[in-house]
Symmetry: C2
Subunit: 139 residues, 2 copies
Amino acid sequence: MDTEKYTGILRENGIKVTPQRLEVLRFLDKNRIHPTADDIYRALKKDNPSLSKTTVYNVLDILSKYGLVEVLTISGTESRYDYKSTRHQHFLCTSCGRIVDIHIKGLCMDCMPEKGHKVEEVHGYFKGTCRDCLKGVGG
Amino acid sequence: MDTEKYTGILRENGIKVTPQRLEVLRFLDKNRIHPTADDIYRALKKDNPSLSKTTVYNVLDILSKYGLVEVLTISGTESRYDYKSTRHQHFLCTSCGRIVDIHIKGLCMDCMPEKGHKVEEVHGYFKGTCRDCLKGVGG
DNA sequence: ACCTTATCTGTAATGATTACAATGTAGTAT
DNA sequence: ATACTACATTGTAATCATTACAGATAAGGT
Ligand SMILES: [Mn+2]
Ligand SMILES: [Mn+2]
Ligand SMILES: [Zn+2]
Ligand SMILES: [Zn+2]
């Protein structure tokens, strides 16, 4: 199921294809909820009981190194991971812990006024209380 | 030296004044280099050998809770602290580890298009290689 | 099948942060 | 001034995400 898609992505980037890499990449593509490494580990361990958490970290490292996955440091206590797609920003609800996508303009690689630095990543992080939590509905 | 300034700031915010709180606040005001908790601890311990690292964390907690200090999670591995002044963004050099201030427009509390969320913090994080490191001068 | 090399796994170590209990301090009431 | 109270500070132990490491495994080329 969908294996060709992720196999192709890895091959195009010169990353050796392994079942673990396929699974992590697929999981992030199908679950755009900015999971932690442990979330990914626990989810994938169901179908692959021999999976090691170290492998999850190793896979996330290589995927982010090749730009296929984005690492979010918004929470400060743990990294959250995002399938790299179109550029967007993030809002962390400090009440329920969810991270939601935000689309704003004017925040990009080229918008940095200070000259001479080589910019490789741009993150817009918003924090506060999400709509659901304000209504008392949130998790 | 300058004690009145920081005493006043703490009092205005209803924060009880203690020598440790004054020292941390003063250090952050005088050292706009986005230090870690450990940086602050080691610097202040010189003049106050009985200082505890737990106290540094406690002080930073309360100062950030009252909005006098900003917590930066840009590095992902450790928090960096910034005396809260005028709004600005940050650039982390992944080579030398320094964080430099960046001033861009169009990133503010009210620029978030999604409605209904209560925004309390906005961070613009850039990452890359700083000018000095590109020149081979960086630390 | 064999060899080489990279990956995966499990466990131990690291390091920043937090929890906790004992001690110290400042202000207030007696 | 002394006793009381509440809070701050300190030192140590615990936590938790992440990394280091060494042995087992698997893939690709001969
Ligand atoms: Mn996202
Ligand atoms: Mn700054
Ligand atoms: Zn929420
Ligand atoms: Zn640099």
